[in-house]
Symmetry: C2
Subunit: 235 residues, 2 copies
């Protein structure tokens, strides 16, 4: 039986052997939700970068520049870090360069794996079905926040474990714990996420709309997959 495990923070990723794994990177608020929403709405590719400078360099090559610092869009950028930005009609067929600190770091740290895909509530069932159909063991990699455990990413990991509990062996206590958290909170995931630390921080910038949207399930069947240094639709 294939195995599935959960890493709660980039600070713990060294405890996992990524070799021959399928890694699902999870940063629900809001990096991976944006990636799913964007590619699911016709964006051609999303290139995650760590710094503003890298993003600007790609901007000179015609990329749409996306990103925030401290929860606010940078003035020289085209869009911020809201999934609604990524879904705009004008970006269909475009390439986006996105600065995300957590998200980019996790994608970098995942590069020992055999396949790197992007998970969010917005594409939950698509991710689950893909994991069933492929043959590798799986690691659900929560981006957390500044290295800390966070609720929304862990709940998503728990939702995936729940959906795959008959197809995969829960490999460690972390997977069992994520499933238990999900079982305890699944009656109202939106409420749980709205009470998370991250939502409270983001709430200060008045983006409850984003938080509500990022907790919606199965808006897209898109599975963003890392190919070289860009995310594209897995097909």
């Amino acid at each position: 039986m294939k195995k599935i495990d959960v890493c709660y923070s980039p600070e713990l990723i060294n405890q996992f052997d990524l070799t021959d794994r399928c890694i699902v990177v999870i940063d629900i608020l809001r990096a991976t939700s944006c990636m799913v929403a964007g590619l699911g709405s016709g964006v051609e590719s999303i290139t995650p970068v760590a710094t503003v400078e890298e993003c600007e360099a790609l901007g000179t090559q015609g990329y749409v520049m996306a990103g925030e610092r401290g929860g606010q869009k940078l003035p020289q950028f085209d869009i911020g870090n809201s999934p609604f930005d990524y879904m705009k009609r004008e970006f269909r067929g475009k390439r986006i360069a996105a600065t995300t600190t957590n998200g980019t770091r996790c994608i970098e740290l995942s590069k020992g794996g055999s396949e790197i895909v992007i998970g969010a509530f917005l594409n939950l069932s698509a991710v689950v079905n893909h994991l069933k159909d492929q043959s590798r063991n799986v690691l659900l990699f929560c981006a957390g926040w500044k290295g800390r455990f966070n609720l929304e990413d862990s709940l998503f990991a728990g939702a995936v474990c729940y959906s795959l509990r008959n197809d995969f062996e829960l490999e460690s206590d972390a997977a069992i714990g994520a499933l238990a958290m999900y079982n305890s909170m699944k009656v109202d995931i939106t409420a749980a996420i709205s009470n998370s630390d991250h939502a409270k921080r983001l709430g200060r910038f008045g983006i409850q709309k984003d938080i509500q949207y990022c907790s919606r399930i199965d808006e897209f069947e898109t599975i963003p997959t890392l190919v070289s240094d860009r995310l594209v639709i897995n097909s």
Copy 2:
């Protein structure tokens, strides 16, 4: 309102400000359960040490030497790492030197805090009442296993959060997550712990009896507290 937070692994302890905190060190299988059982049964003090050599040095001073490596008692030691060893009548009034890798490390890492106490299911209510009665913010510090998240320590943290949910603010997602795990599994904590990674590893050495005992609640009212380098009863 006082705050309570949870650290799931020694690898994450740097994310917490320990200043003026009461730290509860948790290593259910089996270090902190042994400490509670021993001091609750009349042992005078328990000195946690990291290495076999330190333990032997204290042995020459008349300490009872306790410890295991790879789940087995060391031949030159008096007792292993079972709570039943610590409760033997012959050790009443004795000082024990105990080698525990995880437990000792966590106690060392806790030394920035104002008070360091030892928690286990065996003294759950005593710990809860103590935390209510004292004035500091609290950190529940799970020893984990080799730096990894583990279920039994996290469930104990969740049980404390559950008991204190009206007296303390759950400070972060980690505390909310621990509470959710506990809520999901509280109907049968013994079964949950028996299915944990650690129990499965220990089970290979045929110590189901220890695991069952370590999941018993409120066998003692003892709160082991660190004073200098030894654990004694808080009085």
